[in-house]
Symmetry: C2
Subunit: 398 residues, 2 copies
């Protein structure tokens, strides 16, 4: 692959400069870069460049993209949605390989270059979802990096046999041990977390736990997670996803938790949920906690919303946290880029010389405008190659 | 104007049918309509048709569209934003006529056919904002219906001279008497509301009051508004905008208020705010309260968000109220269409024979998909004429 010289580009909405891409990496940045015959030129046309967007929490295996509209008549409880989904998976033949490929294409079109996907593991589908998403990951490896969480969506202790399936998933290629509401769903917080962290220790894997539990119950589960993270010296390798309990108005409950999370090196993933208590992202970051974000499920049996656009997600995080100032919106973008890269351990990420050339170019005056306006026309590079432009991925999927 | 026959169209996402538009109104709907030589044909191409979107609460006079990015470094309090805005209005020459025309064009491009705009009236700008927005209203009267609220943004009792200006605004052409946080900003709830309702009584006008006050304070102001609405027999002519107090978790406070609002015929406007307590739209509607929605300020000195798209707003209302089922999303659309039309008194509105042909055609399988996907390509008719298509208004503005 020949070198690529991008001129008239504004990294992070800064001054106009040039960027040299060589071997899939950012080889140089500067106004003094000169084109030579062996370089392909690309006029940035004064667009801004931001690092590739990072989808740090989604469910690639169970969207319904391209399957016709799903008329949602599901009941109001969490368990209604979980049970309904397992039934619909069979009824509609929601194929994890096909659907993950479709969502990946859509996400990449919006500028996502890295994805963490939780993938259901249960005693009905077994590790079929994991195998399906791994197939899409292999097929689309040039266009996106994906890491996979083995996720016991239907429960772990309440569904015997799931532990063995999680272990099988880890052996087959899932990187991360998942978990779900140790009290609220699994009814056995010690049992649940001992299995999750036991698998993490045995296989040397990170952990990412869905925690929807509110208030005091969620705080209790968070404490148990902190205790195990410390005991196993897993600082920097544990994420709590959703963490609604951190949105409690009871600061006597929340503030000590935040301090303990920072000390234990546990990261927080938030979607910026409008209808639930939400972790206060600025307070968490100020305390030193890594914060990342994700779309969660998009267009699935749980709900109709979501499109995989992590710039729109940055807007949701901004709206939920009442971020209005330009510096605050830049923080929302950081959450949807560097925050996600950090939890996945991508160290060669970001618009600095030497890093992978994973980036998005788009028309906006400032980073805040990129989030507020969410321009649809984005040029997406993955390791220096065009992965999408004009809202369309450069590859086709089933 | 010749008749227009729209074929292959799905009103409210129902079965395919035809619609005859004559004299700017829906003259007939049915599969048996036959084209004659004097009709212009329009193939609906299986798109759905919904009534024109209704922007029931915005601030046309003070957006910054087309003025370059405003770097927001404003303080956190409500009064910081109010004071900063007055200062910026002068510094940047935010022209109400020019800016309202720009926002109108953007809103119409997204499918809005009716707008209620609050317009600042204060002792600095006087009624200059009202005059400016009225000029745009007159210039663009073929493309959108607008009603104007004379809005004491900087306070009424705390800013002597404002009452006389509000009265002047009503005489010049504003239709509605506005108000703002009788306790929180104006520090004199009885004084404030007596002036607002006094003007309403004297001039026979409706009322639309901004009420950001939370919890018990907001409930108190709401009670005072209910008392005056009853005393003046203004049922059906009063709107409380924002009404954060109705989002209090204290149902012993909220439930009696909702019953009283229903009995007094007072409507509620909510933007579906992610970071504030929000009125529960489904509970309000079940109680018989009319609920409408709006963008509030877009792209202004208050904050960077918003684009005037009332389908996106329906999504925000849905996300804030955790609406997931298809019937719930249809309710969100009703809020962003019929709800707004009701508070503005547009009785010849909606996709029924005899009503104005104000409608949006777009590609979606269901109403829920229209909200979740928010397709950008919309054909917008205002009284039977094309007001916008493909995301672009059919008229130009400064």
């Amino acid at each position: 692959m020949s070198d690529l010289l991008i001129t008239n580009i504004r990294p992070m909405a800064g001054p106009l400069t040039c960027m040299l891409i060589r071997g899939g990496r950012i080889a140089a940045i500067g106004t003094d870069l000169v084109a030579t015959d062996d370089m392909r030129p690309l006029d940035g046309a004064s667009r801004i460049a931001i690092p590739g967007l990072v989808e740090a929490h989604t469910h690639l295996d169970k969207n319904l993209i391209g399957m016709g509209w799903y008329c949602n008549e599901v009941g109001p409880r969490l368990i209604d949605k979980i049970d309904n989904e397992r039934a619909e998976r069979k009824r509609q033949n929601i194929d994890p390989a096909r659907q993950s490929a479709r969502q990946i294409a859509q996400s990449v079109a919006y500028g996502t270059t890295h994805i963490r996907s939780h993938v259901d593991v249960d005693t009905e589908i077994g590790i079929g979802g994991i195998i399906g998403v791994m197939a899409s990951r292999a097929a689309l490896a040039d266009h996106v990096d994906i890491d996979i969480v083995a996720f016991p969506q239907s429960g772990l202790m309440i569904r015997p046999g799931t532990e063995a399936l999680l272990e099988e998933a880890l052996r087959e290629g899932a990187e991360v041990v998942g978990g779900l509401d140790p009290c609220g769903i699994d009814r056995d917080p010690k049992g649940h977390l001992d299995v999750v962290f036991g698998l993490a220790e045995k296989h040397g894997r990170p952990v990412d736990i869905h925690l929807h539990e509110p208030g005091e119950m969620g705080a209790f589960s968070t404490e148990l997670i902190i205790e195990r993270t410390r005991a196993l010296s897993m600082q920097g390798r544990v994420v709590i996803s959703h963490a609604f309990c951190l949105g409690s108005p009871d600061l006597a409950l929340v503030d000590p938790l935040i301090a303990a999370l920072a000390e234990a090196g546990i990261a927080i993933m938030t979607t910026g949920p409008a209808s639930r208590p939400a972790p206060p992202v600025q307070k968490l970051r100020a305390a030193g906690v890594v914060v990342c974000s994700g779309s969660d499920g998009i267009r699935d049996t749980w709900g109709p919303y979501g499109n995989g656009d992590m710039l729109e997600r940055a807007m949701f995080v901004g709206l939920r946290n009442n971020l209005r100032r330009d510096d605050e919106l830049a923080a929302a973008l950081d959450i949807c880029t560097h925050g996600g890269a950090a939890i996945m351990g991508f160290t060669e990420y970001g618009l600095s010389v030497g890093n992978h050339a994973d980036m998005v170019m788009l028309e906006a005056e400032t980073l805040a405008e990129a989030i507020a306006a969410r321009p649809r026309d984005r040029l997406v590079l993955k390791r220096g190659k065009v992965a999408a432009q004009g809202g369309v991925a450069s590859f086709t999927v089933p």
